[in-house]
Symmetry: C2
Subunit: 209 residues, 2 copies
C-alpha cells in the first residue's frame, strides 16, 4: 500500500535515521506486519484485526498480506506467536521446576489479564468446525509452543531432573493443557495458585512419598 519507507536508512539532517523511498526487503515488511498484528491482538483481540487495518498501519499492500497469510486466522496466529514469544520464553536457571513455574505463571497472567486468552479460546473453538483453521492453528502456533516446552523438558531429563522413561510430550498436556481446559470450560478459575498446584502435583506426584 505504501512504499514511503525503505530498508535503506538515510541519515536526516538532524542526525536521526530516516528511511527514503524504495522497496523494503520482504523480511522487514513481514516483521512490520506481524508486529502490527501482535499489537492489535494483545490490545483488542480478534475483533480488531482486519487485513485493511494491518495494511494501513504497517504500510504493506493487502495483496502482499494475502499472499503470506491467506486467512485472518493464519495472520492472527503467526502475529500472535511472535508477539508472545518473549513473554513465554523459559528462563534458564538450571532448575527445571523453577523455570517451569515461572513460565507457567507468565502464561497464566497472559491468558487472564490480556485479550490473549479470549483470542486463543475463540480460535480453538472455531477450529473445531473449520478444518483449515485447525491445521493453521497447529502449524503456526501450538506445535511450535509444544516443541519449545518438550525441548526444555528433554534437556532436564538428560541432566537427571526428570525421570528417564517419562514421555515429555505428555507433560505439555498436564501443565499448559490443563490451563487450556479451564480456559475453555471455566468450571473452575485459572489462578496463580492453580498453576503452582499443577507443577507441584506433577513434579512431586500425588501419592505419599
Amino acid at each position: 500500500m505504501s512504499t514511503s519507507t525503505s530498508g535503506t536508512p538515510n541519515p536526516s539532517p538532524d542526525g536521526a535515521v530516516r528511511r527514503g523511498r524504495g522497496r523494503r526487503p520482504a523480511e522487514d515488511v513481514r516483521a512490520d506486519a506481524l508486529h502490527t498484528v501482535g499489537k492489535i491482538l494483545l490490545h483488542e483481540g480478534l475483533t480488531g484485526l482486519t487485513f485493511e487495518r494491518v495494511a494501513r498501519q504497517a504500510g504493506v499492500s493487502k495483496t502482499t498480506l494475502y499472499k503470506w497469510w491467506p486467512s485472518t486466522g493464519a495472520l492472527a496466529l503467526e502475529g500472535y506467536f511472535h508477539s508472545v514469544e518473549v513473554t513465554l520464553t523459559f528462563p534458564d536457571t538450571g532448575d527445571i521446576r523453577a523455570d517451569i513455574t515461572t513460565q507457567l505463571g507468565s502464561f497464566v497472567t497472559l491468558m487472564t489479564t490480556t485479550p490473549a486468552g479470549r483470542l486463543l479460546t475463540e480460535l480453538i473453538g472455531q477450529s473445531q468446525t473449520d478444518q483449515d483453521l485447525a491445521i493453521d492453528y497447529r502449524r503456526l502456533y501450538s506445535s511450535h509452543r509444544r516443541q519449545i516446552a518438550a525441548d526444555r523438558f528433554t534437556i532436564a531429563q538428560k541432566t537427571g531432573q526428570i525421570r528417564a522413561g517419562v514421555d515429555v510430550r505428555v507433560l505439555v498436556d498436564q501443565l499448559w493443557g490443563a490451563v487450556y481446559h479451564r480456559l475453555l470450560i471455566p468450571d473452575e478459575p485459572v489462578t496463580e495458585a492453580f498453576a503452582i498446584a499443577l507443577v507441584n502435583n506433577l513434579f512431586d506426584g500425588i501419592t505419599p512419598r
Copy 2:
C-alpha cells in the same frame, strides 16, 4: 405427540407387559426422550439430533421437549450425560490408581471410537462464542463430571492414598483435561498409552523418587 403408551403396564395375553392408552408420567417421558437423544448422539453425533426426530422416536410432543430443553445444546448435553453415565462409572476396587486407570481408559475409548469425541469438541467449540451454550455445558455436563471425579479422589485422600493438601479439583484438569486438550488441539494422538502416562506421571511424579 403420542399418548399411545402409558405408565401403567397391562399384562398381555402372552404374558409380556404391555402399556395401555393414557398419559405417561412425566419422568417416564423424560427418561424416554433422554434415552432417544443418547442413542442418536452415540451413533450419529450432533448432526442427527433434531427436536422433530426425538419427538417422533420417543413419542413425546415437541412442545414438551422445548419446555424441558429450550435448545438443541441443552437437549444434547443432558441426553449425552445420561447415555455415558454407566460407561464412565468409576469402578470401586479400593485402589484409586487402578480405578482411575480403568475409568480414564474407558473415557479415551469413548472419545476415540464413538461420535462422542466429536460431539463434545463441537459443543466446547461453539460454547466459546455462545454464552448460553457455555452455561448449559457446565450446568448440564462438565460440572457434574468434575464433581464425580473430585468426590472419588476425596475418598481416596481420606484413606491416605492421595497426599493431604492436594487440591483434588486440579487432578481433573491434569487427567481428563489433558485428554480434552489433545482432542481439541490434536498435535498429538489420544491413545491408551497416553492415558496410562497421564496416570503414571501424576501419581508417581516426574522427578526421581
